[in-house]
């Protein structure tokens, strides 16, 4: 979606609900990706994603277009605020890491394709790694990689200097790589012992 199209859809969405569907289709995977990483229960994540879009609908009249990134930043700020509230309410509550939490709700008894299983495994592995970072770095990493936001948009949402966002991003990735390598090494050692 080009910025011109996005501008047009936002303008139209105020009078024609169908225009919002294009925005929804464009932003759903990104909002979902970000929220899903920040909230470990699938059900809670789905509730939050729904809340983001309903809040956006209610606030659309008040939204003012300023620059290309402003709608994305506005939408993700809603998501970010909801996640902050969520964690505040669930402080001290242990994370739900149910093994079946991510099983798609399919009525079909057909086995899940290998690709889907592999993707789910990759996600879980990365989610556990990211959870070891500081909350600030978790925010930056997930907004950048799964929300698809640029550093200037992240800095606007988190109220940080753009260079600080870049530094968090770099160190976050380096930390993740170090921990990932250490885990692989530990697994290799265990396998050799067994």
């Amino acid at each position: 979606m080009t910025p011109e199209q996005e501008y047009e859809y936002i303008r139209q969405a105020r009078s024609d609900p169908r225009a919002f569907v294009y925005l929804y289709d464009h932003y759903f995977p990104r909002i979902h990706g970000y929220v899903r990483y920040r909230v470990h229960s699938q059900q809670d994540a789905q509730d939050l994603v729904a809340d983001v879009f309903f809040k956006a609908i209610r606030g659309l009249e008040r939204f003012r277009w300023r620059k290309e990134s402003s709608f994305a930043a506005w939408l993700f700020r809603i998501a970010h605020n909801l996640i902050v509230d969520y964690h505040r309410q669930h402080e001290g509550v242990p994370l739900s890491l149910d093994a079946d939490d991510d099983v798609p709700q399919l009525a079909s008894p057909a086995p899940l394709p290998e690709q889907v299983l592999a993707r789910r495994e990759t996600f879980r592995e990365m989610r556990d790694l990211i959870a070891t970072l500081s909350p600030r770095r978790q925010e930056v990493i997930t907004l950048r990689f799964y929300g698809g936001l640029h550093n200037n948009e992240i800095s606007a949402i988190l109220g940080l200097d753009e260079r600080t966002v870049a530094a968090h991003l770099c160190r976050g990735v380096q930390d993740l790589q170090r921990r990932y390598t250490a885990e692989r090494h530990a697994e290799a050692v265990m396998e050799a012992i067994v």
């Binding site: 969405a13 009078s15 024609d16 609900p17 169908r18 919002f20 569907v21 929804y24 289709d25 759903f28 995977p29 979902h32 990706g33 899903r36 990483y37 699938q42 789905q46 994603v49 729904a50 879009f53 309903f54 609908i57 209610r58 991510d102 798609p104 709700q105 399919l106 009525a107 079909s108 889907v116 993707r119 789910r120 990759t122 996600f123 592995e125 990365m126 989610r127 990493i141 950048r144 990689f145 799964y146 698809g148 550093n151 870049a166 530094a167 991003l169 770099c170 990735v173 380096q174 993740l176 790589q177 990932y180």
Partner: protein, 395 residues
């Protein structure tokens, strides 16, 4: 130029940030970032969480419904404001003029208020439950619940979806339209609730808004693949409720040129078989037709799946578009797409199968013969063989 001129002067941080940028960009465009090129950064980028498609679809339908509710609410608020302002101003004017203006304004306002629902899609404004016979709703719900294959149930007008959602085990989504009933607008509304694949049952409530219903029907026939099941009507009525079974269309359809010409200049331009034949599954077919001149006869297009040259396995004999696009209405030279799905039986015995396509007169039953390429009464557009154990081989 020395080697030093080529030296990368970026800092490690800049190199990493550039890698992040490129990996995310590649994932967005190609669906996957190359781990050989971007290393661990690509691994992080590719670890997107799996999406529950059913949730995505249901939320999209809820979002559309919420927006339409808001749009109606906003319209009412604007009217209230206008009315209030008008009354304030009128209070400043005394005597007979005020009364006359008030009466005129009231008459005008009343007419607008009364007309407004008609300018919508005919979606019911009162509680729809009261307007439908409970027995009909229950009978339809039982029919849908008896279907073992998962499916989405879309309801038009969308206001009736809640009645069915309470009783039907499959996901029920409202097909809600605004005042715009152009095919593009209907396609957009349909696209908002459509699953990416699989079966979709569209329940049309034939209460009112006949024009809107006809428009929706035409778009459904063009956008989806109507499912024909052996021994069953493709449309089932339960009082005012009408069940239509469809299969979702793929994103892209590539048809193979055929160029078979039947008597009367009726040409089968191209044909496409979109699925591998699997027992118990739908087989989607698409045909492009063209007429050289106006056709006066009422024609039926048939597609027969035949085993070993004589056993009819599945068939569809119908006026294109389930009767909505009769050949008599086609303009010469215009290519018309006829698309549908055949429900294959639960078992496909070993043998050689072929799909025979042709035309016959609805009035006389007389088949039209092929002029080109040979004098037959049908064109074989596809062949396949089933060996023991339902193994399918293309011929």
């Amino acid at each position: 130029m020395s080697m030093q001129d080529y030296r990368d002067t970026r800092t490690d941080e800049q190199i990493l940030l550039d890698g992040v940028e490129r990996a995310i960009s590649e994932r967005s465009q190609a669906g996957h970032a190359d781990e050989a090129r971007y290393g661990f950064v690509a691994r992080v980028a590719n670890a997107t969480p799996p999406v529950n498609e059913s949730f995505q679809r249901t939320l999209r339908a809820r979002v559309v419904a919420e927006l339409e509710k808001d749009a109606v609410g906003r319209q009412a608020t604007v009217q209230d404001r206008l009315r209030t302002r008008g009354l304030r101003r009128l209070s400043l004017v005394g005597g007979l003029a005020t009364i006359l203006i008030l009466v005129s304004a009231f008459v005008l306002w009343s007419r607008v208020w009364v007309w407004e629902p008609e300018m919508e899609t005919g979606a019911p404004t009162a509680a729809p439950v009261a307007q439908l016979a409970p027995g009909d709703v229950d009978a339809l719900a039982d029919r849908l619940n008896g279907e073992p294959a998962p499916r989405t149930v879309a309801v038009f007008p969308g206001g009736y979806a809640g009645v069915l959602a309470e009783r039907v085990q499959h996901p029920v989504v409202p097909l809600s339209l605004g005042a715009d009933l152009t095919p593009a607008a209907i396609r957009a509304a349909l696209g908002a609730v459509l699953p990416s694949s699989g079966l979709i049952d569209v329940v049309i409530v034939n209460q009112d808004a006949a024009d809107a219903v006809q428009q929706v029907r035409a778009v459904l026939e063009q956008q989806l693949y109507r499912l024909y099941r052996s021994g069953e009507a493709t449309t089932e009525a339960f009082g005012a409720l009408e069940r239509n079974q469809f299969v979702v269309a793929p994103k892209e359809v590539a048809l193979e040129p055929v160029g078979a010409v039947f008597e009367g200049g009726i040409e089968l331009v191209a044909a496409g078989v979109l699925d591998d034949p699997r027992p118990g599954e739908p087989l989607r077919l698409a045909f492009d037709w063209r007429v050289a001149e106006h056709v006066g006869d009422s024609l039926v297009m048939f597609a027969h799946l035949v085993r070993d040259g004589s056993h009819l396995v599945a068939q569809r004999d119908a006026v294109p578009g389930n009767g909505l696009f009769p050949v008599e209405s086609w303009e010469p030279g215009e290519v018309v797409r006829d698309q549908f799905a055949l429900q294959l039986p639960p078992e496909l015995p070993p043998g050689e199968y072929e799909i025979q396509v042709g035309v016959y007169s609805a009035t006389s039953g007389q088949r039209y013969r092929l002029v080109e390429p040979e004098e037959e009464v049908y064109m074989v557009v596809w062949r396949f063989a089933v060996e023991g154990g339902d193994d399918v081989t293309g011929l």
